[in-house]
């Protein structure tokens, strides 16, 4: 006979409003093996926890059931409570009567009935819980940071400063990311490059950071504390050691392609550095457009290079490295505007996205910072900014708010006026969202000091009219149709997740939301952790974010990674598979289904009728097993069981529900 204690939480009114707590407590007290049942307003509070501790000691409880919120929320809390009272934490079961009961059912009688059934189920399972002990697993004291934008840079620097080795992997030829493309940053109008480039240089020179640019993570195996990643260093065709970055190769190169960094506004060469402040300041040869590789002709850059750094025969290098923690900071993309034909984007050169506008006002951009119309290189007088192009638009774009557009458009309006005091900015908006420190003041400055004209309403059509653009829209506050003759139209295109984010999520075993942004473990309490232990998130790969938010999230992710790396050992999850050797027939079908290679065969010796016989059985490596339980189901004789979720426990749950 077990001595089970049931503790029912009111969760303030969250549970108590729809579940009759007294009735449930009474019913729980009558369940088999239950010798103690009580309730309290907040079981997770200190008083609630000490109630549990006292009861464990006084009533000599050997199993505890807490009927409260989801085990994903407070399981660990109550595990610790039990451990503090000397009870093995794995003897605690949680009945989820909040998320799965009181919050989703309106009828009090129904919800009370279900709560009792859920507690009965948890009691049935708890009665079959066994003491489990976690084992120690060593931690590999290195971190991998994926993505070399400001988020990845910040995370890498923080982890490296704490004394751990960091590998920073960036797909493009240089680190810097989106922030390197920007001219000024809101709300202070700091020069983006001036605050970013020192950090980029610091990354390159930091003794704890190894930089892999033009590289990609191809595969990640393992688990928290013991990841193993495969990194492909794509052939740069330029020797990193020999190159001095003199620039003769790209001066001489005859091939021209659109520059990705300059948002295709200008051409770059086939051998190129993306931008002058690139780190490392070493070019790459873009083999898809280089004549040497496409037509097997040319070779000018090799002849021209004074350092002899050009090497056409360089091959991809594949590295295998071990890491304890991974920080993902892969950033964002801009929404494709193919579906927004009414704005004439792509049809008229003077209709730009905000990022293209950003390049045009940037002093390292295609016009050297002189804001000129791409069509005729003349300075614009009237510029129309259109907000929420694809944001907050369920039908053609994304339902969410891209968060940064209101602010950067105010910035663009200010920059326009600073460059051309006679110019006029018009901003069409749905709502102005300026929640952030000094954001509202910045927006007011754009309106009051820089005379930007804000029009609440939408734009129906933009079409060419002579050498101008005619913008037809509505000012919904005055109720009038508006027509503006604009020299330039700038679209605040929505932020979206990287198009290959789902592939990366799969590779890492983390989850994404419906818009392919990576999901955090808890939206409020664990915002920088992925669901998979040991993987942390930073920046816009988790959702639209501005620079300060990205930097603080990156530092948060770094802190979490440092906590992990600073431990010599981790406690493993003891809910792993075990093999009952006397039942195992050695068919080894469990090996085939194990995704971690945690099951192996071994030979045991048995004495049967005095004779020593050798027999093949399966064996589980507890350090590798992650506890999915796939093997338990594949096992024909029922020899494999999953601790914490045994066949007996689940069967007992089924029986208790069907009672």
């Amino acid at each position: 006979m077990r001595r089970i204690g049931v503790f029912i939480c009111w969760c303030g009114t969250n549970i108590a409003n729809t579940v009759n707590i007294e009735g449930v407590t009474e019913a729980a007290g009558k369940m088999p093996s239950v010798i103690y049942a009580d309730n309290y307003k907040y079981m997770c509070s200190e008083i609630g926890q000490s109630m549990i501790k006292e009861a464990i000691i006084k009533e000599k409880l050997d199993r505890v059931v807490v009927a409260a919120c989801s085990p994903r929320m407070h399981e660990l809390t109550f595990f610790k409570t039990a451990a503090a009272a000397g009870l093995n934490p794995y003897l605690v079961e949680i009945a989820n009567i909040r998320e799965h009961c009181s919050w989703v059912h309106k009828d009090k009688q129904e919800a009370t009935g279900k709560a009792i059934a859920l507690i009965r189920t948890a009691v049935a399972k708890a009665a079959r819980n066994k003491e489990l002990w976690a084992t120690q697993i060593p931690v590999e004291c290195r971190a991998l940071v994926i993505g070399g934008g400001i988020g990845g840079i910040q995370a890498a620097l923080d982890i490296a400063d704490a004394g751990f080795e960091v590998d920073l992997v960036e797909r493009t030829p240089s680190i810097g990311g989106r922030m390197a493309q920007l001219d000024k940053t809101f709300p202070t109008l700091d020069c983006s490059a001036c605050i970013l480039t020192p950090k980029m240089v610091e990354v390159a020179s930091h003794h704890n950071i190894t930089l892999y640019t033009f590289s990609e993570v191809e595969k990640v195996d393992g688990f928290v504390g013991n990841f193993e990643a495969t990194i492909r260093k794509k052939a740069r065709s330029i020797d990193l050691e020999k190159c001095t970055g003199c620039g003769i190769c790209w001066e001489k190169c005859p091939s021209r392609v659109k520059s990705e960094f300059d948002e295709a506004l200008v051409m770059r060469k086939a051998v190129y550095v993306p931008f002058p402040q690139a780190v490392p300041n070493v070019p790459v040869i873009d083999r898809a457009s280089c004549r040497r590789f496409t037509r097997e002709k040319c070779g000018i850059c090799r002849k021209a290079c004074p350092a002899g750094a050009v090497n056409y025969d360089q091959e991809d290098e594949v590295l295998q490295k071990k890491y304890g923690a991974i920080v993902v900071a892969t950033g964002f993309d801009i929404l494709d505007l193919d579906d927004f034909g009414e704005f004439s984007y792509g049809k008229h050169p003077d209709v730009l996205t905000s990022l293209e506008f950003e390049r045009l006002v940037n002093s390292s951009g295609p016009t050297g910072g002189r804001l000129l119309r791409p069509s005729d290189q003349s300075p614009p007088k009237n510029v129309v900014f259109i907000q929420c192009v694809g944001s907050r638009d369920k039908s053609r774009g994304k339902p969410y708010c891209s968060k940064i557009c209101c602010m950067y458009s105010a910035k663009h309006a200010i920059l326009l006026r600073e460059k051309y005091p006679e110019a006029q900015a018009y901003v069409f908006y749905i709502d102005i969202r300026t929640a952030g420190k000094d954001f509202e003041e910045f927006h007011r400055r754009a309106v009051e000091e820089y005379g930007a004209l804000y029009l609440k309403g939408s734009v129906g059509k933009v079409f060419p009219d002579g050498d101008k653009l005619l913008v037809k829209g509505v000012d919904s506050l005055s109720g009038h149709a508006v027509e503006i003759e604009a020299d330039m139209v700038v679209l605040a295109a929505a932020i979206k997740a990287k198009s290959d984010a789902p592939q990366l999520a799969r590779l890492l075993g983390i989850s994404t939301d419906t818009h392919s942004f990576f999901t955090e473990a808890h939206p409020k309490l664990r915002p920088v952790e992925a669901h998979t232990a040991g993987i942390f998130l930073a920046g816009a790969c988790q959702g639209p974010k501005d620079i300060p938010e990205t930097v603080s999230q990156a530092s948060g992710a770094a802190a979490k990674a440092i906590i992990l790396l600073s431990k010599d050992n981790l406690l493993s999850n003891p809910c792993v598979s075990e093999v009952n050797e006397s039942l195992c027939t050695g068919c080894l079908s469990c090996i085939k289904v194990c995704p971690y290679g945690a099951v192996a065969e071994k030979t045991i010796e048995e004495k049967i009728h005095g004779k020593a016989l050798k027999r093949r059985v399966a064996e589980v490596n507890e350090a590798l097993c992650q506890g999915c339980g796939s093997c338990t189901v594949s096992c024909r004789p029922g020899a494999v069981n999953l601790k914490g979720f045994t066949n007996e426990q689940i069967m007992a749950e089924v029986d208790a529900i069907c009672l």
Binding site: M73, N96, E99, T532, C628, C658
Partner: protein, 145 residues
């Protein structure tokens, strides 16, 4: 209560095996977003949809459950890389076996619900309950001893 009235107000019992990483979290999200679905559904938490043995499902039907749902991560998104693929194959087979036994195949359903799909969780549970309520009680596999 007259017998025929009792039949009319038949409320099915539905057991949902939910994987810890996607579907159970999806159920939690349905809760935190205060969506509603019928109280007929009782969730059993398992680490992965591949942990759900056909034995559990048969046991549930024998013990009188009117419907069983297995919910896991979307194909390709399994927390354990490949668990839901094994589950999918296994349950296709089980579904055909149940049909062979003479049971309505709708009583056993497999759904993929991610941690961000609270609305889908609520919708699946509502639809399943409605479907099974229309089918009536499970008599075929129920242990009638």
């Amino acid at each position: 209560m007259p017998v025929n009235l009792k039949l009319q107000s038949f409320e099915p019992l539905i057991i949902a095996f939910c994987c810890n990483w996607c579907s159970y979290a999806g159920g939690d999200l349905a809760g935190t977003s205060r969506m509603t679905y019928p109280a007929n559904v009782r969730v059993i938490r398992v680490p992965c949809s591949s942990r759900v043995s056909s034995n559990f499902i048969l046991r549930a039907f024998q013990r009188g459950a009117d419907g069983v749902v297995v919910a896991g991560c979307h194909p390709g998104d399994c927390h354990y890389t490949s668990g839901n693929y094994f589950a999918r194959r296994r349950f296709l087979l089980l579904q055909r076996f149940l049909e062979f036994l003479g049971m309505e195949p709708e009583r056993f359903q497999v759904h993929w619900i991610s941690a961000s799909e609270g609305n889908r969780f609520a919708a699946v549970m509502t639809e399943t309950t409605d479907k099974i309520r229309a089918l009536g009680p499970n008599r075929k596999l129920r242990d009638t001893r």
